[in-house]
């Protein structure tokens, strides 16, 4: 436009627009001429084309008809085809449905089958396979068919079923626990019996309870039936039959040693119990993933049972059976636990058992200590000790530490010997009570040997003498001797199996024997000797018996060495203290003999009846003195078995006692007055005594010793009866004096009594006889002199 506009503008603006126009017109005329020519040229062609077109139109119409016809034909044949096709489609659909139904059904069928099996298993109480089935059902079957509505309830029942299986197996376990509680006593019993058989020397009867409560034998079907713990991972889980499996119990390490006996006995402890409920329950719980619960439940229950087992039965201390049951129960419990430990993996572990055992041990020791504390029967005690021994051995066999029980046993030993001591107090007192305190008289050699069998007595002289022989001692001696031996045996019995060395045993026996001798026997003897109702005869026999027992101590030592098997070794072996004890007892008995005789003399003196104011003596000795002397004489004659030494001492002591009693009579403050006549009477009595002393009342004392007892009195009597005051005072202080044994104080006492009597008489009779007056004067002078002597003596000393 721009390009054109410029020349157009320049045209219009230039000087010749007309020119331009002219030119332009010219140009238009040219173009018109050209167009005309062209049209003329193409007109024919055009006509012809129209003609052609018309032709085409007819052809098309024809074609159109033809097509329509064909179309109709096609239409007709297509319709039937379409119908067929539709049918085919329908059939095809049906076929596919059938196929999918078959598929679904084949999917569901195993589920149902499994479910059925499960139900069946449940019915048969085969819980473990049931659980496996359930597992299968839940994890492999059900997920695949979860879309089915009808399986929904099944899915819902699965947890309930599982719970019911759990519950059912738990019930089984509970039954098992209950039965194990019942049978553990029996198990313990058998375990102890095995241990006992192993120990050989032990008497198997110590195990067996005699009580009527003995556990009933297990139903035979339980025996040997115990199935092995099923392997939860194995393929044969469902195969509940134990056929073809080895019995695991016989493989137990603990049992191997006992197998021979097992065969003999027919059953081992564990064989008695069907443990399968535990295994089953354990597996079931592990499978359901509640193993921890189960474990804790089991342990809790067992702990409870342990506590029950550890509860001692009432009145246990009364009978051995009580203890047996108690031990059986406890052993049974631990045997079962041990078995569980060995056959399950980790249901219980060592730590748990050890903890239980520690608790049990503590309790057992405490219970035993209390119960045995009440025990006063040595035999029972010994049996209990053996039982405890076996108990600890059995449990040690199962790997439990039992050292505390040994400590307890040592403790019990002390109590045992205490009980023995008490028992022996009775034994000794029984011997003392039963003894007739007369020398044993044997009529035949058998009787003689019966005594020597009890007591090692040897006397060659007696051996040769003809029957009947009189042994020096009474039955008391062999009885006491053999009882001491019995005691030693009894002590030894307790030390058996305590694992003490020979030295220890020997030491202990000696110690205990010493305690028995120095405490028990010595106490009994001392009590016996002090009994007031004891006759002189008994005392004498006791003192003789003591002599023999004292000699028998050597044999007792030999006896101990023999039974403890320790070579007698004077250096190391502690000596028996019996010898000195019997010596003491003898001297005590002898003391009592002297005392008893003196008491008799006292009784006689109670009968003394002096008339202290008599002017004249009766002319014959007092009756009581004659009685005493007769009594003493007959006593020393009658007691032929009184050892010479004792007889001598007794006689000496009797004489001294009489002398001192006579002296007391004179000095008695209640006797205020004494006449010379009374003194003469006393002198008569003294002469009797002196006669007695001089008459050899006991053998071996004829050297004048006995008379010495009366010397003081004799000198006193001489001074007074001879009125020999001049000599007395003159000789006073001289070692050779005639009246050396007469102290001036005694003279003063007696003289005062005489003076008092004189005073009374003179008052009464108002006598002024000359010789009386002289006598009085002399008396006063003597008294004065004597007082000076006493004072002088005081000065001297």
């Amino acid at each position: 436009m721009y390009l054109i506009s410029y020349p157009i503008r320049s045209v219009y603006e230039g000087p010749e627009p007309s020119h331009f126009e002219e030119r332009l017109d010219h140009r238009i005329k040219n173009h018109d001429k050209e167009i005309e020519r062209m049209c003329n040229y193409h007109y024919q062609g055009f006509i012809e084309s129209v003609r052609g077109l018309l032709q085409v139109r007819t052809d098309v119409e024809c074609l159109k008809l033809e097509i329509n016809k064909t179309n109709d034909d096609l239409q007709n044949s297509g319709d039937s085809l379409l119908g067929r096709g539709g049918d085919l489609v329908k059939l095809r659909k049906t076929q596919r449905n059938i196929e999918s139904a078959v598929d679904a059904l084949s999917l569901c069928l195993p589920v149902l089958e499994t479910y059925g099996k499960l139900k069946e298993q449940l019915r048969l109480k085969r819980y473990y396979p049931a659980l496996k089935t359930l597992e299968q059902l839940e994890h492999s079957h059900l997920p695949r068919v979860s879309k089915y509505k009808f399986l929904q309830p099944m899915c819902e029942t699965i947890p309930t079923l599982r719970d019911s299986i759990k519950d059912a197996s738990m019930t089984d376990l509970k039954d098992f626990l209950e039965s194990i509680r019942k049978h553990s006593e029996h198990i313990g019993h058998i375990a102890m019996k095995h241990q006992c058989a192993e120990q050989n020397k032990m008497d198997p009867s110590i195990v067996t309870t005699q009580g009527k409560k003995r556990p009933a034998p297990l139903p035979p079907k339980l025996k040997r039936k115990a199935p092995p713990p099923p392997n939860p991972f194995g393929d044969d889980v469902d195969d509940g039959t134990p056929n073809g499996r080895h019995n695991p119990f016989n493989d137990e390490g603990i049992e191997t040693g006992d197998e021979a006996q097992d065969a003999e006995e027919g059953v081992s402890a564990q064989d008695l119990i069907d443990f399968s409920p535990v295994y089953r329950c354990l597996h079931i719980y592990s499978v359901v993933g509640a193993r921890d619960t189960f474990e804790s439940y089991y342990r809790k229950q067992r702990r409870k049972q342990a506590r029950l087992a550890l509860q001692p039965p009432p009145n246990m201390q009364d009978t051995l059976d009580g203890y047996k049951r108690y031990f059986h129960d406890i052993i049974g419990f631990f045997v079962v636990e041990d078995h569980i430990l060995n056959t399950t993996s980790g249901l219980v572990n060592r730590a748990y058992i050890d903890e239980l055992w520690d608790m049990a041990l503590l309790k057992v020791v405490a219970v035993l200590r209390t119960h045995i504390g009440f025990c006063t029967d040595a035999t029972l005690m010994l049996q209990i000790k053996n039982l405890i021994m076996l108990f600890s051995l059995t449990l040690r066999g199962y790997g439990f530490t039992v050292s505390q029980l040994y400590d307890l046993l040592l403790e019990i030993r002390d109590q045992y010997s205490e009980i023995l001591m008490k028992k022996w107090v009775e034994v000794f007192n029984g011997i003392f009570q039963m003894d007739n305190y007369t020398p044993i008289c044997v009529n035949t050699i058998e009787e003689y040997e019966a005594v020597t069998a009890l007591y090692p007595f040897m006397d060659s002289r007696l051996e040769k003498s003809p029957f009947p022989k009189n042994l020096p001692f009474s039955q008391f001696v062999p009885n006491v001797y053999s009882e001491v031996k019995e005691y030693i045996y009894a002590c030894l019995k307790f030390s058996e199996d305590l694992h003490l060395s020979q030295n220890e045993i020997d030491d202990m026996i000696r110690k205990l024997a010493n305690v028995l001798l120095t405490r028990t026997l010595s106490g009994c003897l001392s009590e016996l000797i002090k009994r007031p109702q004891l006759h002189l005869l008994q005392l004498i026999q006791i003192s003789i018996n003591m002599n023999h027992l004292e000699q028998s101590c050597v044999f007792l030592e030999d006896f101990i060495s023999n039974i403890t098997g320790l070579v007698k070794d004077n250096v190391h072996v502690s000596r028996l203290q019996g010898t000195s004890m019997f010596k003491d007892a003898r001297s005590e008995a002898e003391g009592q003999i002297y005392k008893r005789i003196n008491e008799k003399i006292d009784e006689f003196f109670d009968l003394a009846n002096y008339d202290w104011t008599a002017t004249d003596p009766r002319g014959q000795p007092s009756e009581y003195i004659s009685d005493i002397i007769a009594f003493l004489q007959s006593t020393f004659i009658a007691f032929t078995n009184l050892p010479e030494k004792v007889a001598q001492t007794a006689c000496m002591s009797a004489c001294k006692h009489m002398a001192s009693l006579l002296m007391e009579l004179l000095k008695d403050h209640q006797v205020r007055e004494i006449s010379i006549g009374a003194l003469q009477q006393l002198n008569l009595d003294l002469v009797q005594c002196e006669h007695f002393a001089a008459s050899d009342p006991v053998p071996g004392l004829n050297d004048g010793t006995l008379q010495l007892a009366f010397v003081d009195l004799r000198q006193l009597m001489d001074v007074f009866l001879e009125w020999d005051w001049a000599n007395y005072i003159a000789d006073h202080g001289k070692a050779t004096g005639k009246y050396i044994r007469v102290p001036p104080a005694t003279c003063i006492l007696l003289l005062e009594k005489m003076r008092d009597l004189d005073k009374k008489k003179s008052n009464l009779l108002a006598s002024f006889k000359r010789n009386e007056r002289d006598r009085k004067k002399l008396l006063d002078t003597v008294l004065k002199q004597l007082r000076q002597l006493v004072n002088g003596q005081v000065h001297f000393t």
Binding site: T438, Q533, H535, L536, L537, L607, D627, S634, A638
Partner: protein, 206 residues
């Protein structure tokens, strides 16, 4: 020394070994019993004071061994005895028949006027009795002495026996004193002041 008694009676127990003389004495002196048999050796005695009619009487009772071998020792004591208890065992016939021997012994060795009494001991053991009470009584009647069946074990008649014997001795003694020494009798009465007083009073009243 003050006299603690008015009379001293010496009694003697004799009889076969094992009839229970010591037990009878033990019962009387200690009121006790000991069942073990320990035969007496030689002689023993016990003293017990009793009171009779206001008098203190000391009984010195000699217990003799029954065994033959001590016979010489024991017979020496017959002489001084004022009363003799002859003891037999009702369960042992022999001991009963021997009473006659014992009485002959008494006649031989004891003083003529000794008081005697027969005791049939162990009367608690009726089931083993061999000597009837009647037989015992008949024997006692025959010798004109008192008789009692006793049991030291059951404490039957022991006390009664001794008291009875003591009473008889006392009665005899009183009679003798009276007969031989009338002055003694007055002296005796002097001591007995209360009775005298009462008599005086009654006199005054009359």
């Amino acid at each position: 020394m003050a006299k603690t008694y008015d009379y001293l009676f010496k009694l003697l127990l004799i009889g076969d070994s094992g009839v229970g003389k010591t037990c009878v004495l033990f019962r009387f002196s200690e009121d006790a019993f000991n069942s073990t048999f320990i035969s007496t050796i030689g002689i023993d005695f016990k003293i017990r004071t009793i009171e009779l009619e206001g008098k203190k009487i000391k009984l010195q009772i000699w217990d003799t061994a029954g065994q033959e071998r001590f016979r010489t020792i024991t017979t020496a004591y017959y002489r001084g005895a004022m009363g003799i208890m002859l003891v037999y065992d009702i369960t042992n016939e022999k001991s009963f028949y021997n009473i006659r021997t014992w009485i002959r012994n008494i006649e031989e060795h004891a003083s003529n006027d000794v008081e005697k009494m027969i005791l049939g001991n162990k009367c608690d053991m009726n089931d083993r009795r061999q000597v009837s009470k009647e037989k015992g009584e008949a024997l006692a009647v025959e010798y004109g002495v008192k008789f009692l069946e006793t049991s030291a074990k059951a404490s039957i008649n022991v006390e009664e026996g001794f008291i009875s014997l003591a009473r008889d001795i006392k009665a005899k003694m009183d009679r003798k004193l009276e007969a031989s020494n009338p002055s003694n009798r007055t002296a005796h009465q002097l001591k007995n002041e209360p009775s005298k007083k009462s008599r005086k009073w009654s006199c005054a009243l009359l």
